[in-house]
């Protein structure tokens, strides 16, 4: 008797509509749809918070309370890691924190997790890389390049590779964690008999989407702050 059937395992990124531009066939995939939905949700949240905070009350209501808690804890997190440089970066860190957090937990709401696409996480890693390099050149000038040959000149290639693979490993960490959650959920939904598909996946969702997603969001923002902070002073 065959219970498991590999043909209905389904967690790949799928194309939804195809269009033709710049002489190539391009696809609108499930990743783009998920990203659009998440962007709209964050925008709605931002506008609602803005409206609410314009008529902020002394004793906060539920929504105001949650938003104040969120912003306060984000500010505190950045402040603890970056010290006196926190003011310049709290906006960027807060933005990517909310974005990655919403992306990671969107698997709970039936979207295909957008951070389970290497294109998304790689661009986030490249953003970090650009900021780190810009701050390094701005604050150290040519010393930013010569610091690569710091202990010995022989180590220059290794230091260069270490610097370049930073965004790659950062992107791969987020991608690998989210993708492993997506794969496990896909295998469970695709291959298990029907009676274990009720109830038990909720625990897996709590671990793979919620727990792992929150930890990885924290780690990504933390590593970004640590890398940037290295180049600041």
């Amino acid at each position: 008797m065959v219970i498991a059937n590999a043909s209905n395992v389904d967690f790949m990124i799928k194309g939804v509509t195809k269009f033709h531009a710049f002489g190539q066939d391009l696809w609108i995939t499930t990743t783009e749809i998920g990203l659009s939905i998440i962007t709209i949700v964050i925008l709605i949240l931002a506008f609602a918070t803005d409206r609410k905070m314009k008529r902020a009350t002394e004793v906060p209501g539920t929504f105001q309370n949650i938003m104040e808690l969120l912003v306060d804890s984000l500010d505190k997190m950045v402040k603890e890691t970056m010290g006196h440089n926190a003011k310049k970066f709290v906006n960027y860190i807060g933005t990517i924190f909310l974005f990655i957090l919403f992306c990671n937990i969107s698997g709970l709401f039936g979207l295909r997790t957008p951070t389970g696409d290497f294109g998304v996480t790689f661009m986030l890693g490249v953003f970090t890389f650009c900021i780190v390099q810009y701050q390094g050149i701005k604050n150290h000038g040519i010393g930013h390049l010569t610091s690569l040959a710091k202990p010995f000149v022989v180590l220059f290639p290794i230091n260069l590779i270490g610097e370049i693979t930073n965004p790659l490993s950062q992107a791969l960490r987020l991608f690998g964690n989210m993708m492993s959650g997506v794969v496990i959920m896909g295998l469970w939904y695709g291959m298990m008999p029907i009676f274990v598909k009720i109830g038990i996946p909720s625990f897996l969702h709590v671990y793979c989407d919620l727990f792992s997603g929150c930890i990885q969001t924290y780690v990504f923002c933390m590593l970004t702050m640590v890398y940037v902070n290295d180049k600041l002073d």
Binding site: S169, L172, G176, N177, S180, V219, M222, L223
Partner: protein, 85 residues
């Protein structure tokens, strides 16, 4: 080996290779366990610094996890993208 085409043989070897690649998960598991154990000991010695210790531990564990994720990436590519077919 009768009845097994070359393509099937490649798929089978890819699956075995994916399984071997996931042995990479052993190292990060041990490393993360050591990190968590030391963090627990540190919290026991100095309970006031719990939040600092926790964030440092999570950061270190996440960095240690990278090698395991390389293994996972190789396994996933072997299993689902089928580069040798």
């Amino acid at each position: 080996m009768n009845g097994i085409s070359g393509q099937d043989f490649i798929y089978g070897c890819s699956a075995i290779g994916a399984g071997i690649a996931m042995i990479a998960g052993v190292g990060p598991g041990i490393g993360q366990g050591i990190a968590a154990g030391h963090a627990a000991a540190a919290v026991g010695r100095n309970p006031g610094a719990k939040s600092d210790i926790t964030s440092t531990m999570l950061l270190g564990q996440a960095v240690a996890e990278t090698t395991g994720l390389y293994g996972f990436a190789v396994a996933a590519i072997l299993m689902f993208l089928k580069p040798f077919s």
